[in-house]
Amino acid sequence: MDFVARFGRFWLDVLERLGRAHLFLARTLGAIGSLIPRFGLLVRQLHAVGVMTLSIVLVSGLFVGMVLALQGYYLLEGFGAEAALGQAVALTLVRELGPVVTGLLFAGRAGSAMTAEIGLMKATEQLSGLEMMAVDPFKRVYAPRFFAGFLALPMLAAMFSAVGVVGGYLVGVEVLGVDAGAYWSNMQSSVAFLDDVVQGLIKACVFGFVVSWIAIFEGTDCIPTSEGVSAATTRTVVYSSLAVLGLDFVLTAIMF
């Protein structure tokens, strides 16, 4: 009986938290209009979550492209189809690895930072302070961070894929000797803008939306102690990573 009660309590808590998260999202989306007079806040957050994540995304993209070229070359060489390397690298990056790996990196770098920052603002009473100054934290704190994350992730994913293609070129063409003309022309003829690039960016937009939502909600919902902020930061990375991977499957099944 005790087990049944605890099981029921657990799911009631989960549902209650989900409800709070959706109400939080609704209020954050409702605050979008407030970003017009506070455009500077959005720009500052774009710098914090976008520009500051750029270096890890570019370096990762370069190495992922290089590994893809190596693995792809060994596979395609068996069929005498190494000329299709550019196509394989580009499609893998644009459709899958660009949005997914960028989403995971974004969750680890920017998502955790957003949770920790908001959690510490809560622990140090800064959020209560804003409320008592009649300043709505949804307009001043949450909305700028949420929309910055939503806008930054597709841009970062695009840059990840672009750098990955260059990494594939360096290894495939410069090191392994694949013909440069074949690398670029096969890529150009097989990668469709709407079906591949745009749909990859749609994935990145969805990941940006979900990761930012999770990160900011976890920050506001954390227990305002050092342990609470630490646990919330961990939850952000875990939930965001699972959400990115799960949604990737769903979106791939729907779109491609």
């Binding site: 140090t124 009473e125 800064q126 209560s128 302070g129 804003l130 409320e131 008592m132 100054m133 009649a134």
Partner: protein, 309 residues
């Protein structure tokens, strides 16, 4: 015209405050008179708390709290740790809603206000948090200017003047470019006080303003709270554990314990109270109506029983 009126209303108050802190004779006598001029103005309360009930989880925090905060005076709420004093401030500020009962400020039932009306009311209330709650990404100057930038469209030159006057009033004009991480605890609270005052509130709430302060910082805060209240005609509501300091500047004291009001009155009335509980609380005796030992089985019996628990 709007700007001119705003400027005049604010500047006069701060000229008074600055003179008081600078120690001019007129201001000093005003301060001394206020210390001895204790009048009961509960007939005209700014804050009314009636039959307030509140629980946290299954633990009752308030069980029918009733008291008034007189307008224009310094009122201190005293009580043991965990009594819910900070919770009470949050309910007066509308950050928490009561389970039952009402909290009204200037005639408005705080829990029933729309978000817009609540924010309008909060613009007339200042709150000094225990940690200061300064925004860590802004300098001291920008922290104090923050409410003005958020709620007004005053020209930059006027904002600068208003901020500098408030910083001067709390003695931090020279720290305008420092960030909160570079301030001591006392300086952070003074900067937070400047920010809380910047919108010319009708009342200001202090949450444990003296905790962790050295004697000089404590003396500065005591003087500031008293003089600012007097010079700007505020109503001050303070929650504190530092009995001697809090009582020295209070006009009216409310003692709460276990969810109800134990006693109210002036500091002198409370010092002469016939209540054993109040006397124990004010003298800090370890044993009395509030026992040193929590209720437990008989000590000797438990030791001799041989039980491990």
């Amino acid at each position: 015209m709007r700007v001119t009126g705003f400027w005049r209303r604010w500047s006069w108050g701060y000229v008074d405050a600055i003179e008081t802190l600078a120690g001019t004779d007129g201001a000093k006598s005003l301060f001394m008179n206020s210390m001895s001029d204790k009048t009961n103005v509960v007939d005209d309360p700014l804050v009314c708390v009636r039959d307030l009930h509140f629980t946290r989880g299954s633990k009752p925090i308030f069980r029918g709290l009733d008291f008034d905060v007189p307008r224009g005076q310094v009122t201190t709420i005293l009580g043991p740790s965990g009594t819910g004093k900070t919770t009470l401030l949050k309910m007066i500020g509308g950050q928490l809603k009561p389970l039952r009962g009402t909290v009204s400020v200037d005639g408005q039932d705080v829990a029933r206000l729309s978000r817009r009306d609540l924010y309008a009311l909060r613009k007339r209330m200042g709150m000094l948090f225990q940690s200061g709650a300064l925004l860590t990404d802004l300098s001291v100057f920008e922290n104090v200017a923050f409410p003005l930038r958020e709620h007004t469209s005053l020209p930059e030159s006027l904002i600068s003047h208003l901020v500098l006057m408030r910083l001067h009033a709390v003695g931090l004009r020279g720290a305008r470019d420092l960030y909160p991480a570079e301030l001591s605890g006392g300086m952070a609270r003074r900067a937070a006080l400047a920010r809380a005052l910047v919108f010319d509130p009708m009342m200001i709430m202090y949450d444990e303003p003296f905790t962790g302060q050295d004697p000089i910082s404590m003396g500065v805060l005591l003087t500031l709270i008293r003089t600012v209240n007097q010079a700007l005609g505020l109503t001050s509501l303070m929650v504190s554990h530092d009995l001697a300091e809090a009582l020295s500047i209070s006009d009216y004291v409310v003692i709460i314990s276990e969810g109800v009001v134990v006693e109210t009155g002036t500091p002198d009335e409370l010092k002469n109270s016939e209540s054993a509980w109040t006397r124990q609380f004010l003298s800090g005796s370890p044993d009395g109506p509030v026992p040193f030992q929590l209720s437990a089985p008989d000590y000797a019996e438990e030791l001799l029983s041989g039980d491990r628990r």
